[in-house]
């Protein structure tokens, strides 16, 4: 397990860098934008567990994210619950959603599965819109108490999200390098063949879907504290679904590094473009880059790097 040793060292180093940054960097907007990029690292990594490893394309990532956020809001409103409780509850609920979605794979393959995920997303959104306790379609304001240890809530959440990103990546990595990952790859390539070889496809799919869902909820849970305000249309926005899908495809779906690369690159570009130019251009860039990569570089940036490094052939 030597590679885990090195991975943990790297993870601790990244976390330390993040904490140091909150004490040293002056500009608040850096953390505001940085949080969003880290959030996408979690979302992209989570999506990839079901989409990249298992081959089931989830178009409803926005719903998992938003449900995570709304569970957090509900707990804040009901019990003024601390962040840890919000996060655990969010993960439990979205994990359950993931399990249900995984169960759908029994009957639905390919595009049917994807359309069904959109259906789940819209139904969740409609349900939340009708839930007056969390503000319904108007939304609700969330005031955070002043944070301990950090000069602002944004900085605190920046560090928290760094931690979550590391956690998500660790989970993805351990799945990938274990027998679970091998099984998922087998069923992605051909589900019938995998089944006939004795791979427990249903259990693997359920596991992947549940984990994916729970991690998306993880990404969403701190969102209300970060924005101080939440309303359904932006929380359930299709942009989350598209980004969660585009980032792994751009980075490379075969390995846990792909979503990270995709999220950091695309997320940073998005933040810079939104600040300097406009948000339409932002969406256009995502669309164009997605199409270009899907056509030209199907293995993503990882695939390009591998080809450049001389190691051709499939993973």
């Amino acid at each position: 397990m030597g590679h885990w040793h090195r991975f943990s060292l790297g993870a601790v180093a990244v976390l330390a860098a993040a904490v140091v940054a909150t004490q040293v960097v002056d500009n608040e907007y850096f953390f505001y934008a940085g949080y969003v990029v880290l959030q996408f690292v979690v979302l992209a990594t989570a999506w990839n567990i079901l989409g990249g490893y298992a081959g089931y394309v989830n178009f409803g990532s926005g719903a998992f994210f938003a449900v995570g956020a709304y569970v957090a809001v509900a707990l804040i409103k009901a019990f003024a619950a601390p962040l840890l409780v919000q996060v655990l509850a969010a993960m439990a609920v979205t994990g359950l959603m993931g399990f249900a979605v995984g169960a759908m794979t029994l009957r639905l393959r390919g595009i049917f599965f994807s359309i069904a995920t959109v259906a789940v997303a819209v139904i969740c959104e409609t349900a939340v819109m009708n839930w007056g306790f969390v503000g319904g379609a108007r939304g609700v304001a969330v005031l955070a108490p002043p944070p301990m240890l950090f000069s602002s809530t944004t900085r605190l959440l920046f560090v928290v999200m760094t931690l979550f990103a590391l956690l998500a990546v660790a989970v993805a990595r351990s799945i990938q390098t274990s027998w679970i990952g091998r099984g998922l790859r087998a069923l992605r390539d051909s589900e019938e063949a995998a089944e006939s070889l004795g791979v427990p496809t249903l259990k693997l799919k359920l596991f992947a879907a549940t984990t994916s869902g729970a991690l998306m909820g993880l990404a969403g849970a701190p969102f209300p504290l970060y924005m101080n305000f939440i309303e359904p249309t932006s929380a359930f926005s299709l942009n989350y679904a598209v980004s969660a899908l585009a980032m792994p495809i751009i980075g490379g779906t075969a390995s846990w590094i792909g979503p990270v690369i995709g999220a950091v690159l695309l997320g940073s570009v998005q933040q810079i473009v939104t600040v300097t130019v406009s948000s339409e251009l932002n969406v256009l860039i995502v669309g164009v880059v997605l199409v270009v990569f899907v056509v030209v570089a199907p293995q993503g940036i990882l695939g390009l790097l591998r080809r450049l490094a001389g190691r051709g052939g499939p993973q």
Partner: protein, 289 residues
């Protein structure tokens, strides 16, 4: 709910359903018959609607605009399919995800292009049949809904006839069932599929015009129709034209009755709820092959 209101809601639902069928026929062909994961279909509808809006600026009636734009869309569909086939349908196992992602990206690009060209504001057209209704006793039937229903009948009927009576039409139905057999009979499956996709895209011109006749359009409108169109196509049974009309009507009535009884807050979930129900209970649809 008083009986009269229910009757009026059902009648309105039937007309609305015709409209839903009209906007779904393209998808019935593209996805139902030739298995292209065309999630960009609603975006093309919106493109057609803006086309009608653009021509409306020159005083051209929206329906006429739709008819005029049909050959343009047809050719675009031919080109798009050629590209799609070359890149995706030839390759291996990953092609499913990538094809889906490709059309997703295309849908996004179309939407943003429309925003950059027209802005995010809602657009409407004017026509003598928009804004007036005829009275049936206490009930009022908007004329634009009757127009939409009429066009729907024409489209589904026309396509049904085409698919069963002409050689290309029957070839399209055949290629969905057995590609190799078709090739052995001397027809090139790829060209047949390309033709079919062209037809599917061509219908988006006229259906898109219907979209802007029914109500105002803005570039993001496509998202609301992903659910409805796929619901209709799946409920219909992949590729069936009479099925599309029936399924459209069922969806229209369901939405109308829910809107009238439960209120507007649950309306967005009707199409998707129905879709999930169909997928769970009878995935082959009503008239499935």
């Amino acid at each position: 709910m008083p009986l009269e209101l229910l009757v009026e809601a059902i009648l309105a639902g039937v007309l609305l359903g015709g409209f839903y069928a009209a906007v779904s026929v393209g998808l019935s062909v593209a996805f139902g018959l030739i298995d292209v994961p065309h999630i960009a279909h609603p975006a093309f509808l919106v493109l057609g609607a803006f086309g009608a809006y653009l021509l409306g600026g020159y005083g051209i009636d929206p329906l006429l605009a739709g008819v005029l734009l049909t050959p343009v869309f047809f050719l675009a569909g031919l080109a798009l399919y050629r590209f799609y086939h070359a890149v995706f349908e030839r390759r291996g196992s990953d092609a499913g995800l990538r094809g889906l992602a490709f059309f997703f990206g295309v849908a996004f690009i179309v939407e943003v292009a429309l925003i950059l060209a027209f802005g995010v504001d809602q657009r409407m057209v004017e026509a003598p049949y928009i804004g007036r209704s005829i009275a049936l006793g206490e009930m009022r039937v908007p004329i634009r809904m009757l127009v939409a229903f009429g066009v729907a009948l024409l489209l589904t009927g026309g396509l049904a006839v085409y698919l069963s009576r002409t050689f290309t039409g029957r070839a399209i139905k055949a290629v969905a069932q057995d590609q190799t057999a078709l090739a052995l009979m001397g027809a090139d499956p790829v060209r047949i599929k390309q033709w079919a996709f062209g037809i599917a895209t061509g219908t988006c011109a006229l259906s898109g015009a219907l979209l802007i006749i029914i109500g105002p359009v803005e570039p993001g409108l496509g998202r609301l129709y992903i659910g409805r169109t796929f619901c209709v196509v799946v409920l219909a049974g992949l590729g069936s034209m009479p099925g599309t009309l029936t399924a459209g009507v069922i969806l229209g009535v369901a939405e109308s009755v829910v809107l009238t009884s439960l209120g507007a807050s649950w309306a967005p979930a009707v199409a998707f709820g129905l879709l999930l129900l169909v997928l769970a209970v009878r995935p082959t649809g009503l008239f499935g092959r």
